[in-house]
Symmetry: C2
Subunit: 199 residues, 2 copies
């Protein structure tokens, strides 16, 4: 790409490092950025710097926050005796969208993944154990993704939590609402059968 100024190539490289952005998209985004009025491009750069500067992890649940505690840990109406363990801040947002869960969270910031060199010490597991050890927690809900790594992480955590005598539960597996039986895979159908309930 020696046809473009070096600063543009550098910006393209930066965009290409983002997940899901290929070289062609990165070039398109870099050219788009150049086509913006200077103050809008500056606003973009400042949004990055400001987010990086102000956003930290909640000291209790490790969710993202711009204070010491996240809005959920700050909220006295949220039940501190139920802790939902998720892999990622995105998952907190997903569960919050149900508008039904009234407990608190604990964000692991990843799952155990030997393939990607992520071990238990790279995750917010110690902080979870300390939180449970401090008392006041009756139930820990495992809400990691239903894939191999999410499962393994949930299994690992449930074993670690057993000595504390808290109830450890797992999100239910089954047919997604609104889907069709014929398109469900065997593993999901099997779990749905196993988890059947009285009507």
């Amino acid at each position: 790409m020696q046809y473009f100024p070096a600063a543009l190539d550098r910006l393209t490289e930066q965009f290409a490092r983002l997940p899901g952005i290929g070289t062609k998209s990165a070039q398109r985004l870099a050219l788009y950025m150049l086509s913006l009025p200077p103050e809008e491009a500056e606003a973009f750069a400042n949004a990055i710097l400001e987010a990086k500067r102000t956003v930290t992890c909640c000291t209790v649940c490790r969710n993202l926050t711009d204070g010491e505690l996240c809005p959920i840990c700050r909220n006295p109406k949220r039940d501190p005796s139920v802790v939902c363990v998720v892999a990622d801040p995105k998952d907190v947002a997903a569960i919050e969208r149900t508008k039904e869960y009234r407990g608190r969270y604990h964000v692991l910031h990843g799952v155990i993944s030997p393939m990607n060199h992520v071990g238990p010490d790279d995750l917010q597991i110690k902080s979870l154990l300390e939180r449970v050890a401090a008392g006041g927690v009756d139930e820990v809900i495992m809400a990691t993704n239903p894939d191999t790594e999410g499962e393994a992480t949930a299994m690992y955590l449930s074993r670690l939590l057993r000595p504390f005598g808290v109830k450890v539960t797992r999100l239910a597996y089954g047919i997604p609402v609104g889907s069709h039986l014929e398109y469900a895979d065997e593993a999901t159908l099997l779990r749905a059968l196993e988890g059947r309930r009285d009507m």
Copy 2:
């Protein structure tokens, strides 16, 4: 998205404004940016600011450059008597990749598009006419995209250029190399037939 800090939401909004980035992708990118080490996030922001500060348009051909003239206009080996008119800096890069074209360029920065309120005055047309009027140009090659707006812009320009007595040509239409006849659309096949050559 009231589950995230305001600064994160603002960064998500900035990403969502980029072309081809939806709300979900924007959130993923913003969270990724937060997961980067501070110096890498800063490097990203600085790449935007630096590109915006240093990249300008070549005073002759309006291609992107970090000097007064772009590398192509600066190169004495490039034939100044042939000017290839393209809509976008991306198209310069595309033609340069052929490694065969030895003339110069003129970048319009868009095409005439009444639907998007882009008229001739919003494009680098005046600078093209001034360049041709100054003399030394024998041929102008229209290399706008072969769609309605690109065609209309090329047609409009060729009419404006007629009084100057320069040769105005158009990129050939036809079957793309390596493609299959059965997948070619009728318009392309018709143009390929019309443009057939002796073997």
